[in-house]
């Protein structure tokens, strides 16, 4: 096994721009491109809170596929694996501003936070007020629970995106939107696993050892290294181990109701995802935890990484209602209800 260093692209340096053009053209009923940003084809009503996110590319359908009704208003895509700069984020804030304030969501990664902070200052200098930034994290492998705010953002944030998108669409205040973001974040945990690595499409540089075929748990969404589990680990074993760590970190009691997300990190087959899901579901049921909603598919990918992540979000009736609210995005799929 090894990495695919050549992709179906033209000049790799043009890949992000050409991707945005192609993706927007294929989904012109939901989104459009505007100054390098992905915006809703039909803007939100005046006076509503605008929801913006900036992020590195290479994680599609995140976040270009999550712009639309009941989701993001604006996505500012950066270069591959690299957050956009402050100028782009300020443009995004301006584009999302419908007069009801703007929520800038940041998945916790050093570069994303730095650029967002620079952008907030710049927006302030330009007299744009009513911008609130919330930093989001969920990946239990990236820091111990006592330093929870040091954790990085992972696939669990899709729960947060869905819920804040729904409440903003209803016309909630900026404060209420921010409250939901923090509430959903604090109830969400994720953990990833993969075998092998991927190569950066521009530099051609593999992000890990291409000859190491063992399974690793706890990788970052940019291919940052994790802890090796060894070779030939059965899917059921991996699912059980990961779910156990998530449930323990979240202190989920028997009887809890969760949303379960199984993220395809790139090139896993539906066969593998389904087998992994089956194992996770069994482990949750053994612990008396009820899976109320399921999402299985590509959310945040790392190019064609042969990996995945599990995320759980503990639901209550407020969150569940937001989770179930209709939404429309080029890469958005409603969760299965059980």
């Amino acid at each position: 096994m090894s990495v695919r260093t050549r992709l179906f692209l033209n000049n790799p340096a043009d890949a992000v721009g050409e991707m945005l053009e192609g993706y927007a053209a294929a989904h012109s009923d939901v989104i459009k491109l505007s100054d390098g940003m992905v915006v809703r084809a039909t803007p939100k009503p005046e006076g509503h809170v605008g929801v913006v996110i900036g992020n590195g590319s290479g994680h599609e359908p995140a976040m270009i596929g999550w712009v639309g009704e009941g989701l993001f208003d604006v996505n500012v895509p950066g270069p591959i694996f690299s957050s956009p700069g402050p100028g782009g984020i300020v443009d995004g804030i301006r584009a999302a501003d419908r007069g009801g304030g703007v929520l800038l969501l940041v998945s916790s990664h050093a570069g994303d936070i730095m650029n967002a902070e620079l952008a907030i200052d710049e927006a302030d200098d330009e007299g744009i007020e009513d911008v609130e930034m919330v930093i989001l994290y969920d990946d239990i492998a990236s820091a111990p629970k006592e330093q929870i705010t040091e954790r990085r953002g992972g696939a669990g944030l899709f729960f947060v995106w869905k819920m804040v998108g729904a409440i903003a669409e209803r016309g909630a205040s900026l404060a209420d939107c921010a409250r939901i973001v923090r509430k959903a974040r604090d109830r969400t945990r994720s953990l990833s696993a993969a075998m092998g690595t991927v190569a950066h499409p521009v530099s051609g540089q593999p992000l890990g050892d291409p000859d190491d075929t063992s399974v690793a748990v706890g990788l970052g969404v940019h291919g940052e290294a994790g802890t090796r589990l060894g070779e030939d680990v059965e899917a059921d074993h991996i699912s059980e181990l990961m779910i156990r760590r998530l449930v323990e970190d979240a202190d989920l009691p028997a009887g809890a109701r969760v949303g379960l997300l199984l993220n395809n990190g790139g090139s896993l087959t539906i066969m593998e995802l389904s087998v992994l899901y089956r194992g996770a579901r069994a482990e949750l049921e053994r612990r008396g935890i009820k899976v109320a909603r399921s999402w299985v598919g590509p959310y945040a990918t790392t190019l064609d990484m042969a990996g995945f992540a599990f995320a759980i979000c503990q639901m209550d009736s407020e969150l569940l209602a937001l989770y179930d609210a209709p939404a429309r995005g080029a890469g958005f799929v409603m969760p299965g209800a059980h």
């Binding site: 590195g56 402050p86 100028g87 050093a110 570069g111 730095m114 902070e117 890990g208 940052e224």
Partner: protein, 212 residues
């Protein structure tokens, strides 16, 4: 003295030097990061030079501010924010100085840049980042400037100190940036951002020296 032309040549020298070492920098970043540092730096500096060449007879302040913005726009990420703010701070200081600027103005700009980097990056020296090369470089520049040295001597002192600082990161465990999630892997190899700092100061020292 630092005029617009010399400023432009400093940025161009940095661009050339970093491009030549692009693959090595990406490789260093792949050890525990995401393998794009060389690409990021080369892209930003090329973008900066394109913008600078497109402007008519820019002042030193304009050259450095343009460079800072190019980092912010073209790269993003951690290093885009940090290097962009470093160049931007130099530009901001030169904006308050005469044109041509004095070596002391340049050193004050570098000091401000270091302060910004540490604030934005939330790092101290010793955490295996670009700051471990930038801190000794700025210290050495300040000392040389205090002794009334020429820009050439100042930058030469800074370059030597930056290189020593970059090398010193080899044995450090990362505490900032995404490399910290894979701390063990990274021990034994240099921090890519620190290496870029050394390359830039070395390129500057040579560029100023060669102009006499």
């Amino acid at each position: 003295m630092l005029d617009g032309d010399l400023s432009r040549r400093l940025v161009d020298a940095a661009r050339r030097r970093v491009s030549d070492h692009q693959d090595e920098l990406s490789r260093l970043d792949a050890v525990a990061g995401d393998g794009d540092h060389g690409v990021n730096m080369a892209t930003a500096l090329s973008e900066a030079m394109e913008r600078i060449e497109a402007s008519d007879d820019p002042t030193p302040a304009e050259v450095f501010r343009t460079t800072g913005r190019a980092f912010h726009d073209a790269v993003g990420g951690a290093a885009g924010a940090l290097f962009g703010s470093f160049f931007g701070a130099i530009g901001g200081q030169l904006n308050r100085s005469d044109n041509p600027a004095t070596p002391a103005d340049m050193v004050t700009g570098m000091e401000k840049g270091l302060t910004r980097v540490m604030r934005i990056g939330k790092v101290e020296p010793g955490q295996k980042t670009m700051v471990d090369a930038l801190t000794p470089a700025v210290d050495a520049a300040r000392t040389a400037s205090g002794e009334g040295a020429s820009l050439a001597r100042i930058l030469d002192a800074a370059a030597r100190a930056a290189r020593r600082g970059a090398l010193s990161t080899t044995s450090l465990e990362p505490r900032a940036g995404r490399a910290r999630y894979a701390a063990e892997q990274s021990i034994g190899s240099e921090d890519p951002g620190a290496c870029t700092v050394a390359l830039i100061f070395e390129a500057w020292a040579e560029a100023v020296e060669s102009q006499g």
